[in-house]
Amino acid sequence: MRRIFISILAALALLLAGAEPSPQASAAGDPDLGPYATLDDLLAADCVDDAALAIAQAAARLPQTGAPTARTLRGGVEEGGVTSDDWPPHALGGVIPPIRSVSDPFPTFDGVAIDTVNDRVIFSDENRHSLLVYERTAGGVSNETTEPAQWVFGPKTKLGYIAGVEVDPARREFYTVNNDSGDLLTVFSYEDHGNVQPRRSLSLPHQSWDVSLAPKRDEFVVTVQQSNALSFFKRTATGTTAPIRTIRGLATELEDPHGVYFDETHNEIITANHGNWTQIRPYSPYDPQTTEVGEYKSGAFHPSAITFHAADANGDVPPVRTIEGDLTGLNWPMGIDVDLTRDEIVAANYGDSAVRVYRRGDKGNVQPIRVLRGALTQIVGPVSVAIDTKNDELWVANYGDHTAVVFPRTASGNVRPKRVIRNAPKDTPTCGFTNASAAAYDSKRDEILVPN
């Protein structure tokens, strides 16, 4: 807790330092930082009190005059030199502080996974790029931030805009997926804490979102948004190891897939889909301009759906059944979990801030058997769920609020949670950004528009 609090203070100090209408920063470089130090290095440093001070100093002193520059990259473009006062020559501006700055310095919960063997709950934090581990019994009625047992955070972790998480209780490991920035699956140990390298990592297709382990098969599956695919890997895959099989194609009905559950008991892959579909072609700056792209299929909007595929499926294979239609109430379903003892599927329904529960064998346009929704539930923009059959609980990770909420496993309707886990003090707002990368200004309403 102390580490998070101080680092948050440090981030705030940086924002405030940047927001001051101070003169151009042109002082000599900070010898404590060194010319190639990063602010994230400092944020992740063990001595966080000193780091907070150094960050505030760094914000006031950049750029560092005389810092080494000029490493030549591909195409002759020089790396570095941007911080030099001499570049660009004779230009207006330079190091300029903003007059206003909007960001959220606190973690936001994204994925959640529970380990009832070792009594731990792991959350991914998309906002600060960290993994937070709590005791299973964490939380309560306090308005203060809940102290995590572990916190994996910093540049060595290679955590970017992470989404789904998974846990391997037998090996005491947890997994997460970089949805953007890095295209990696990273695996950490229960002994890992702070700014540490992952125990292993695996390159994934861009926009992978969730991961689910199949311990008996010794495999895992990941969802890939942009290629509408499910890719399967051996559990121990590392580096650039290729998938052992992939389910992808028009027949699959995979459409902007998000949450996934590898149901080894029934040999099925269960996937939550948002319904967006478009063809994928080579698009990157490293692919040629003209390629053989085959028959053109235009984009489409389809309803959100839960698809079920045979666990051994490979290629362009249709689902064995699908839950889809108006009665389902599915609306941007994100993470899912399966309660094998009750034979139920639980979905975090982001679009209407609800948790919706279906029978595992359901198909077609069916109503959920339970819906958890309403002001009392404190469910706001849920992104993932985890079922604890051992302790009869249901965990919900909120992206729209700085909380996770815990209910009795079969809670229904507009009911209060048993416990609340907070990653920021009560009523702390959240900007809701997920790697936002564009903006527009609405002159009529005097508003700033940001797509996510």
């Binding site: 003169p23 591909r74 020089e78 030199g81 570049w87 960001s103 953007d180 290729a242 478009t278 700056p285």
Partner: protein, 305 residues
């Protein structure tokens, strides 16, 4: 949507989201049409361009949706609107093209013009704006080896496989990993958001197959807001007639931009404000001089303080 004066950790005033909107949670562009009071948004994951009422809030359907086989759209990433000539422009990195539609286009409609082909030099097009006064389209496009990484300026009515009339890029420009473009209509000044000065990292996969010869780098965090200080991004500003391997005539750099990652840039010419967005935040800069005609480097109007 945030109030212009928002500052600190604040929640948006309103949000358009949910199934009925036909949006996704992956969108990389936006344009506001001040004349018709509409918002235009590309949805890469469903090959569509959507138009909403500008005061829309919550789970509301779009006014219009451009999507279908006649559109030829695959994954449109960025948009611009020309309310003077009644056109919507989008750039699609999967098509390697700039595509122009009637502003009121709705449904499965063919584009009016498509700029694409080897002569254009366009590849990974990530930013786009249109200047209806000077009749130009400006696109930011990247090619991985450093060749043709920069700003491409076309005649507004260009169509087909045509060469750009101007190109800004090269080692002296330090352009590498950028995204959104914005044009100040009064001066024609071109603003570009650059995330960092390293070339865009090669992705590990092509479609669903591992990329041949791909080697993961240790230092692969090139999309995030945690770039190294020595390769930090910036907001670059060019005069409308700039051409070649030239440095920006005006720049914003430093800690504020680093926090933003500088992937997006928007302008408020009336208040002389520049909004930069990236990572998980946005910043606003007050710079009246950036909204004046930019003199050639070394001119007496150059101020560096």
């Amino acid at each position: 949507m945030f109030a212009r004066l928002a500052n600190g950790n604040v929640a948006p005033k309103r949000v358009i989201e949910g199934q009925a909107t036909n949006l996704s949670r992956t969108m990389h562009g936006i344009a506001y049409d001040a004349i018709h009071d509409e918002i235009v948004i590309p949805v890469a994951l469903s090959g569509a361009v959507l138009v909403f009422k500008a005061d829309a809030s919550g789970e509301v359907p779009p006014l219009r949706a451009i999507q279908g086989t006649r559109t030829r759209l695959v994954r449109p990433h960025t948009v611009a609107v020309d309310p003077v000539n009644n056109e919507i422009l989008t750039a699609d990195p999967s098509m390697r093209a700039i595509v122009v539609f009637e502003r009121m286009a709705n449904g499965n409609v063919a584009p009016k013009r498509v700029i694409s082909g080897p002569k254009t030099g366009l590849l990974d097009i990530v930013g786009l704006d249109v200047d209806p006064i000077r009749n130009v389209i400006v696109a930011s496009s990247r090619k991985g080896n450093g060749d043709k990484v920069g700003l491409f300026v076309f005649d507004r009515l260009a169509n087909g496989d045509v060469e750009p009339k101007q190109f800004i890029g090269g080692p002296n420009s330090k352009l590498a990993h950028f995204r959104q473009v914005a044009i100040d209509p009064a001066t024609g000044n071109i603003f570009l958001a650059q995330q960092n000065t390293r070339m865009k990292q090669m992705e590990a996969y092509v479609l669903d197959k591992p990329r041949e010869g791909f080697k993961a780098k240790d230092d692969d965090d090139d999309d995030s807001d945690s770039g190294h200080l020595d390769t930090m991004g910036f907001i670059a500003v060019y005069a409308p007639d700039d051409n070649g391997d030239v440095p920006p005539r005006a720049i914003i750099k430093g800690p504020g931009i680093r926090l933003a990652g500088a992937a997006g840039v928007a302008l408020n010419p009336k208040k002389k404000e520049i909004i930069t967005v990236g990572g998980n935040g946005f910043q606003t800069f007050l710079l009246p001089d950036f909204f004046k005609p930019l003199k050639k480097p070394g001119g007496t109007a150059m101020i560096r303080d």
